[in-house]
Each structure stands twice: as C-alpha cells, then as structure tokens.
C-alpha cells in the first residue's frame, strides 16, 4: 500500500515538474511573440508620428511594398514640413526587415538621432527623423 502511494506521489511530482516547465515555455513563446524568430514575428507594423504633421494621420500602417516620404503631393506619406524634401526618404520592408533609405534629401534622414548614409535597418522603437518631423517605428 505505501508503495502504491509513493508511486503515485512520484508521478504527481514529475507532472508538477513538467507543468512548471510548460508554464515557462509558454511565457517564453509569448515573450518572443508567437511563431518565428523575434525579428520576423515582431517586425515593425506601423509608423507613429511623434512630432509634426502627416496628412495620413497620427499612425500609418506599413505595407510590404514600401512608402516614399516627403513634401511632394505625389509621395506616399505626405508630410507638411518645410525642412523636408519633396521625396525625402523611402521606408521599405524586405524579407521581414524594415529599412529606411535617404533619397538624397537636403537636410538628411536621421535614425535614432544619427544621420544615415545608406539604407538602414530599423526595429520596433527606433525613431526616424525627417526634417523636423519625428516618426517612431512600431
């Protein structure tokens, strides 16, 4: 009889161990953001305007084909900013990676406060400054 109880206790204890690990594994999955790697699963999905005027509103959904940003009425994202060029920068998404590229603007494009000279990858939380307009990638 005690042997039976001990056996049951043993199995119960093992189940508890795995229950604990299951909880942790679940938390890790939530942390990483569902399936795929952190980069793919939680890539930036939108631009949020922190400062300045953007005709499309305070939030712009990023689309795969990319956007041009500038003062020109023909730009995909039109910003009302005297310091911005007509076609100032391009924001594109390739292979799950979002990149910002300066299109030869007069005043430059800044990612996290640094002027970029080549297409630069951005992740969630990075800021992009165009003229006096401040955008955050989210």
């Amino acid at each position: 009889m005690p042997a039976l109880i001990l056996n049951a206790l043993k199995i119960l204890f093992l189940l508890l161990l795995f229950l604990f690990l299951w909880q942790i594994a679940g938390a890790i999955r939530v942390h990483i953001g569902g399936r795929g790697s952190a980069a793919r699963g939680k890539g930036p999905t939108e631009l949020v305007v922190l400062r300045g005027d953007v005709t499309k509103g305070k939030r712009v959904k990023l689309r795969g084909s990319g956007h041009t940003v500038g003062r020109s009425p023909d730009a995909d994202i039109i910003i009302d900013d005297p310091y911005a060029s007509d076609f100032h920068a391009r924001i594109s998404a390739e292979n799950g990676q979002t990149r910002v590229e300066d299109l030869g603007s007069t005043n430059g494009t800044y990612v996290n406060g640094r002027r970029i000279t080549a297409p630069t990858g951005v992740v969630k939380g990075d800021t992009v400054q165009i003229g006096k307009t401040m955008l955050e990638v989210r």
């Binding site: 001990l6 056996n7 206790l9 043993k10 199995i11 204890f13 093992l14 508890l16 161990l17 795995f18 604990f20 690990l21 909880q23 942790i24 594994a25 938390a27 890790i28 939530v30 942390h31 990483i32 952190a38």
Partner: protein, 431 residues
C-alpha cells in the same frame, strides 16, 4: 509576463523544493518536519531577495531567468538533501548568501548599469588570473591551496585562533570575471576582427594584433588550469572563448580552428598526463577497471539504468552509492530517483535557460551587453552540457559542477553573479 508572474513562479519553485524534501522524508518513514518549512523559506528568501532587487533597481529585467534558476536549484537541492541532509543544511546557507550577493550586485549596478564593468576590463582580467593562481599558494600560509581529488583547485583559509577551515574554489568566480573581460574586449574590437579578415583573401584570418590580448588571456588561464590539473575547467574556458569569438564575429573559422585545437590539445594531454589517460579509459570502458577508475562512471550508469523511465521515487534509490553524487554526479542521482522523465525535465530547464539568455543577447543593441549576456549564457550552457555529457558517457568526465544544482558555495555564488548580470543587462535593453 510580469514581475508578479515571476513572483508566483518563484513561489512555485520553492514549493517544488519543499515537496521534494517532504517526499524524501516520507519515503524514509518520517513525517514532515522543520526541514520542509526551512527549505521553502530559504528558496523563497534566496530568489525572493533577487526578485525584490529586480523590482527596485532593474524593473524591466527578464522575468524568466529567476524561475528557471529556482527550478534547477530546487531539483539539485532535493537530491543533495536526499544524499546528505547535513550538506543540504549548509547548502541552504549558501543559497541564502548567493541570493544576497546577487541582490547586492544588482544594487551596485543600479545607476551605472553593466556598462561600468566595461571600463574596468583589465582589472577583471587580473582579478580572474589572480583567483586562478590562488590555489597554488604554499600549504604553510594561512591562505593556502589544497588538493582535492587530484586537482589543486581549492583555497583553504585557516581562521586564526579558531579551529575552522573555510574553503572555496576561486575558479568558479574567475570564469565569470573572464566573461566580463572578453565581452568588454570584443565589444571594442569585434568589427576589426570580423571585417579586416575579409580583405586578406582566401585565408580569412583577422589581424593578429586584435587577437593578441584574447590569446594571451586564454593562454594564461589554460596554463594555470593545466598546472592545477583541472582539464574540465580548461575545456570550459576554451569553449567560452571560442563561443564568444564566434558570437562577436559570426566567423565559422573560429569554431573550426577551436575544434581542431581541442582535438590536438586532447591528444597531447592524453600523452602527457597520466590522469587524463585514466579518465579516457574510464570513459571508453568504465567496467574494465570497475573498482578503480571506472567506479564513478559505472555507478552513475547503474543509477540511471535502475531509475528507468520514472525513477525509483525520491528517497527510494541508492544515489549515495555514487561517488561525488552531490556535486559532479548530481545528474545521475536525479536520473536514478526521478528517472528519464526527471532527467529530461532538467535538460529542458537548461535549454530554456539558454533560450532566455540568448533571447536577451539577441535583443541587446549595445555590443557589450550583447556579448556579456551571450557569454554568460554560453558559460552556463556549456558547463551543463560538459558535465551532463560526462555523466551519461557521451564525453569523458570533466569534473565540473552542475550549474545551480550541485552542492557548493563557490559554484552557487558564480551562478548568482550570472543571474544578476543577465537580469541587469536585460533591464537596460528595455528602458
């Protein structure tokens, strides 16, 4: 996942430890006593203190590090208690001290962050080598080295006017300091080491002057460890160097040349050191010298074999028959009493720890933090792998402690340092 969830999981790990201790006592025929309560209290205190330190000074720290560490410590503690309750009583003190130390480190870094460590890298290098050299102090001094199991790794402090000897293994802390040094050094040089090599052509080697200090540091550490006959720690440090070089540069050449070097060094060590030959033969055929060199490995195999799928049950096996079952061979003890299922749980926990650790490293934008958290994770992962592989006879026995599980104050202290640094690094990344 929040701090509150972390607290709940820590309480769960402490409960697991207490249940395990209760089961050991139940199996021995006695009923619940103070040990169960003490175990719960000490686990809740140890990880609770670090948890509170995170809340106060690193509120964005990754909330999964502590629960996983608590889980591993709980399983290790149960087996230590089962084999030697007196040792477990000491281990409770070590746990509490480790918890306070980790909280202290988090407090120290509260304003400056881990970045401050980067500035003092050569201090850490000197301290690490100094710690590694400590066991070589002559026996007659008040602080002197001591030989345990054929390796001169221990330092014994004879407290004057009291008949007490305190011993510790300085190498355990030294490897954490070396990781800080390497992370700091590589953070400054990794670009040079990765890009310069590209321009040289087909033989992709970085400029020697960038590698120099790393090789000198590695060489010094190895020489000391070779002299102390601690080949397991040498192997661990070497794997750490290679892993961090690879992480920093992304160049496979380091891994390949590292593996070649290990094989060459292994062959040389086999020819030069008698105790290496003994270990290799005990690995290849532990039953050839069953009563001698192969005894430990063989007993470990018997233990895990008799444990079968779900184990004998806590307190119902004979893990006390395995030499060093509370330190090197604690995994075999788990294999006997909790079976394959329990062993898999342990390995899963290490895998989750490594996942979380690399997750932290991947998210870091700052190079130093990235290499630091990556390096510390590599350290824990490789050490767990080397010793578990030794127990299950995939590799020869290396004589390392099982991180967080083994009995031992130095080892726990080193693990506590790692937990504090990982927590702090992950906090800074999310501010």
């Amino acid at each position: 996942m929040t701090r509150n969830a972390e607290a709940v999981l820590i309480a769960a790990a402490a409960t697991l430890a207490a249940i395990g201790v209760a089961m050991v006592q139940f199996a021995a025929g006695s009923w619940l006593d103070a040990d169960v309560a003490l175990t719960f209290i000490v686990f809740a205190f140890t990880f609770g203190v670090i948890h509170l330190a995170f809340r106060a000074w690193a509120p964005n720290a990754n909330p999964l590090i502590l629960p996983i560490a608590g889980f591993l410590a709980a399983i290790g503690f149960i087996e230590v208690f089962r084999i030697d309750p007196n040792l477990a009583a000491l281990q409770r003190w070590w746990l509490a001290i480790a918890g306070i130390s980790a909280a202290f480190v988090v407090w120290l870094l509260r304003d400056s962050g881990v970045a401050v460590l980067r500035r003092y890298r050569y201090l850490f290098l000197v301290a690490a080598v100094g710690l590694l050299l400590l066991p070589l102090l002559p026996e007659s001094w008040p602080i002197h080295g001591a030989v345990v199991n054929g390796s001169r790794l221990w330092v014994r402090v004879t407290v004057p006017f009291a008949d007490v000897d305190l011993s510790f293994q300085p190498g355990e802390v030294a490897k954490v300091l070396l990781t800080i040094f390497l992370a700091s050094y590589l953070a400054d040089r990794s670009e040079a080491m990765a890009t310069v090599s590209r321009s040289i052509g087909p033989i992709r080697l970085p400029e020697p002057r960038h590698l120099g200090p790393v090789i000198i540091a590695a060489g010094a550490a190895f020489l000391v460890l070779m002299y102390q006959r601690d080949l397991g720690a040498s192997l661990l440090l070497f794997a750490l160097f290679i892993g961090m070089l690879y992480a920093a540069t992304g160049r496979g050449v380091y891994v390949v040349s590292g593996l070649v070097a290990v094989v060459v060094a292994g062959v040389v060590a086999y020819q030069q050191f008698a105790h290496v030959r003994v270990r290799i033969s005990a690995w290849l055929d532990p039953f050839a010298d069953f009563t001698g060199a192969g005894y430990q490995t063989a007993q470990g195999l018997f233990a895990m074999g008799s444990g079968s799928l779900t184990g004998s049950g806590l307190g119902l096996g004979r893990p006390d028959l395995i030499p060093e079952a509370t330190t090197d061979f604690v995994f075999a003890a788990v294999g006997e009493e909790l079976g394959l299922a329990g062993s898999i749980a342990v390995i899963t926990a290490y895998a989750l720890f490594v996942t979380v650790g690399f997750g932290i490293a991947l998210r870091c934008r700052d190079r130093f933090r990235k290499y630091l958290s990556g390096g510390l994770t590599i350290l824990v992962g490789i050490q767990a792998f080397l010793i578990i592989a030794g127990v299950v006879r995939v590799l020869p026995i290396t004589g390392l402690t099982t991180p967080l599980m083994s009995y031992g104050g130095s080892s726990l202290l080193a693990s506590a340092l790692i937990l504090a640094l990982l927590g702090r690094a992950s906090h800074e990344e999310r501010v």
